[in-house]
């Protein structure tokens, strides 16, 4: 036991002495969360809008007022001819241009329909889609109010309700993904680098001849990172709750337990990587390209798994973060319990066990 | 008096309140083989870095190959050769590729490089191995090649930092044959070593202790002055009382 404590203490010295490592370990989770929470959002708070009104009647005036009164749209220019549209977009000053056809009010009165055109900047399809959606809903609102006032019969209308995330806040989406990413980085990348570093500097030679058993070396290496990763989980969940108001609707204990399981999976991956290479550089490349990229791209963090092509969906199954994401989202946002999540939990358990066994077997008690 | 290739006056380097090199003054003449000895931590490496223009001195003055070490570091780098045991050539390139690369660095034109390359491989008897990766060659050959590459741009002065570490005694002496050859051609050689018998091969030797030059003369004269039978004895006698061995 004393040996073990000595080993862990030494490992903490390494982490604390290297300011850059310490900064990455503790600064990154906070920085990432703030970055995703504040800077990178899917909501758009300010749509710079230009109006080209070829009708100039009461209805278009009212509709324009309605659009700008919602707060989302900001009047950025009043255009006088169709020629100006292209220029306005090219200069980047405009997100959207709304065009009312000539005789708008008359046509609406006469035929019940009138044309308005919503032009957006297609070079950014995401923003485009969201902006168009916003505009449509404002116009729909306007028409409903108008027909109600006129006493016309009200038709059936679908009213969308977003459950669990009524405001559709993107921070709800990012927090679970971010947790997966940070845990993968700290646990897998850091352990694989710290083990391969000992191989590179030759200290592993000394550890091997010291009669420590492989399992003792591995556990001694892993425990500090387990603790650190756990601190990171607490940081992210805490920050998400207090700064961004992301709730934890399910059991916090279950969330932490599942996170611990995911950390174990990531750690065993890290050890596995360090058992197949002797160089820090290779370990880093494998961790970044082989673990971090898929965690970001294929886990459902940014792109939904269901909308991926089938082969990628299949690949996503072997990515631990995919399962962890499901678990975290379910616990934090839906308040789900283990009864729902037992399958995902089992998958993670199986993965940890697999990599742990493989790396203990691969871990050589000799050089090469 | 021969031309002074290196001349320093009270050259000093301080790191914080630690004085690594403490007012050293010495001169090296053209064509001389100058041994620069000292215990680990005596300040040798720092002094070498200043003389090769890699580190700015704290005070004092010096000229190397006729250039000022404060203002003309670029000119110094162009006019000196440098070879160290740690970094010399690229192991994953062939002898020819190494020569071509370093020739290019020193701005030699292609025709000159090709001509020098052939001549060098011929002199070193490496013609057959010219296209073998260096990693496959014995250490002794690599060091000889590294030395020749350091002389590729025909510098007046060459710095050799422990050039013979780790090689066997025969190869070590063959390496010294090359050093003598270069010196006979007028190249000034500034060399550090931990082999004390190599100190005897130098024309003059300086011994640094605690940042200062404790002794500087020909090996014969030094041994007579300090009453030592060998350079090893002399070195231990001078360096033993050093206070900074832990640095």
């Amino acid at each position: 036991m004393k040996r073990f404590i000595g080993f862990v203490r030494k490992e903490f010295f390494h982490i604390m002495r290297d300011r850059r490592t310490a900064a990455i370990l503790f600064g990154m989770p906070v920085l990432q969360l703030l970055l995703f929470g504040f800077a990178i959002r899917n909501e758009i708070s300010e749509v710079r809008t230009g109006i080209l009104d070829l009708s100039h009647d009461v209805v278009t005036k009212k509709l324009t007022d309605k659009i700008f009164s919602s707060g989302t749209f900001v009047a950025s220019a009043v255009l006088n001819s169709g020629k100006e549209i292209g220029k306005a977009f090219a200069s980047g000053k405009m997100n959207e241009v709304i065009v009312f056809e000539p005789g708008f009010a008359g046509k609406l009165q006469r035929d019940g329909t009138a044309q308005m055109q919503v032009i957006t900047d297609g070079s950014d399809p995401n923003v485009s889609r969201i902006v168009t959606g916003y505009t449509e809903s404002v116009v729909r609102d306007f028409l409903r109010e108008k027909s109600n006032a006129a006493g016309a019969p009200v038709g059936v209308e679908a009213v969308p309700v977003m459950k669990f995330n009524p405001a559709l806040k993107s921070v709800y989406l990012f927090v679970p993904g971010l947790m997966a990413m940070i845990l993968m980085l700290v646990s897998a990348l850091m352990t694989s680098i710290s083990i391969t570093r000992e191989k590179e500097t030759g200290t592993m030679e000394l550890l091997l001849v010291s009669s420590l058993k492989p399992i003792q070396i591995i556990v001694g290496k892993v425990v500090p990172y387990l603790l650190l990763s756990f601190v990171n989980v607490l940081t992210v969940v805490g920050l998400a709750f207090f700064v961004f108001g992301v709730p934890c609707r399910g059991s916090l204990a279950l969330l932490l337990a599942e996170s611990l399981l995911f950390i174990m999976t990531a750690l065993s991956l890290g050890i596995f990587i360090s058992s197949i290479t002797n160089s820090q550089q290779v370990a880093m490349m494998i961790s970044l390209a082989g673990l971090l990229m898929p965690t970001v791209l294929l886990s459902g963090f940014i792109f939904p798994v269901a909308s991926m092509p089938l082969p990628l969906q299949a690949i996503s199954n072997i990515i631990p973060a995919r399962w962890y994401l499901v678990i975290v989202r379910a616990i934090m946002l839906k308040g789900a319990g283990i009864a729902v999540l037992w399958k995902e939990t089992l998958v993670l358990m199986f993965m940890s066990l697999l990599f742990m066994t493989a790396s203990v077997r691969k871990f050589s008690e000799r050089l090469q | 008096m021969a031309e002074q290739v290196i001349h320093t006056e009270k050259l000093t380097k301080r790191f914080g309140n630690f004085t690594a090199v403490d007012e050293i003054s010495f001169s090296v003449s053209a064509g001389e083989i100058f041994g620069f000895l000292g215990a680990n931590g005596a300040g040798k490496t720092t002094a070498m870095k200043m003389l090769t223009g890699l580190l700015a001195p704290s005070s004092g003055s010096a000229t190397v190959a006729g250039f000022d070490i404060y203002r003309q570091t670029e000119a110094i780098k162009r006019n000196i050769g440098y070879m160290s045991q740690r970094f010399s050539l690229y192991d994953d390139l062939t002898a020819r590729e190494n020569i071509r690369f370093f020739g290019g660095i020193y701005g030699l034109d292609n025709a000159t490089i090709r001509e020098k390359c052939d001549r060098m491989l011929h002199v070193l008897d490496l013609v057959k191995e010219g296209n073998t990766r260096l990693s496959a060659l014995p250490l002794g050959w690599k060091q000889k090649l590294a030395f020749s590459v350091a002389l590729l741009h025909e510098p007046k002065l060459v710095f050799l930092d422990e050039p013979t570490g780790g090689v066997d005694p025969v190869t070590r002496r063959r390496f010294w044959d090359l050093i003598y050859q270069a010196a006979a051609n007028g190249v000034t050689v500034f060399v550090t070593t931990h082999y004390m018998d190599e100190a005897e091969y130098c024309d003059r030797v300086s011994i640094m202790v605690d940042g200062k030059i404790a002794a500087l003369d020909t090996p014969e004269e030094l041994k007579r002055t300090f009453g030592s039978a060998t350079m090893n004895e002399l070195f231990i006698q001078l360096a033993r009382p050093a206070k900074r061995s832990g640095q």
Binding site: F13 | A39, L124, G140, G166, T171, Y195, R240, R244, Q247
Partner: protein, 313 residues
Amino acid sequence: MTQAVTTEGLSKRFGKLEALRQITFSVPEAELFGLIGADGAGKTTLFRILATLLLPDNGKASLLGLDTVASYRQIRTRIGYMPGRFSLYQDLSVEENLDFFATVFGTTVKENHELIREIYDQLEPFRKRRAGQLSGGMKQKLALCCALVHRPELLLLDEPTTGVDAVSRQEFWQMLGRLKQQGITILVSTPYMDEASLCDRVAFMQDGRIMAIDTPTGITRLFTKPLFAVRALDKHRLINELRAFGYASSAYAFGNAVHYTDLRLSPEPQELAAWLKSRGFDDVEVQRIEPGIEDTFMALTESSRPEQEPSDG
């Protein structure tokens, strides 16, 4: 006498390279045994096999009566190993390194203080300094201390003095001498020939082979040719002239002299001196001397691989 180390026909190859070829030797208990050879001679591979870190392709070795392959666990607790490059934690202090290696072996620095006291006293002033900031000599002392902290019966030291200045080397060897007196068997490798004379017995290694094993004085008997020390002021020209002499076998710089051997069995020093005078050396001095360890090593390497260095052929 009990043997602390015995090997029999050890061979190891890495791809095309034959790192060790049929290494057979033994070291009795409490002996200071030196392996002398340049980089690439196979010293490190031999040490790693003995430290149970590598498996030999052929042959076997036993340490303290235990087989290096079958009983590697027991061996590991009873030997101290110092790898060739500095392999301590550079970001830990002197004290932290020592404490760490002590705990890893399930002991404390205090418990074995007697054994390491002498070395530790020299490290004491730098207790709080990071190992990476120590000088070469101090690093080696710290590494030795760490290798000794669990009171091993056998020390394997792979080139402990490479790159270390002459003063620290001398101190290091004095420590080894005292450790030997405490009954610890020491196997040490070095590229410095002058250190060979400090060993009880030495083995010369070259290209994965052991060329000779004997006591330092015994081994010089392998040098059979008459040897002359020639002195003159212009050493470089002297070497060239000696090599040009009709009967010259070899001429190498040795300290302030040139060591010369002749092709004939009993050459006359006067004849050589006269010839050199005729070549313009007025101050020449020729003297018959006994060969040293370095002379012997050089003669043996020359004869064992004439084909490998055609450059001076």
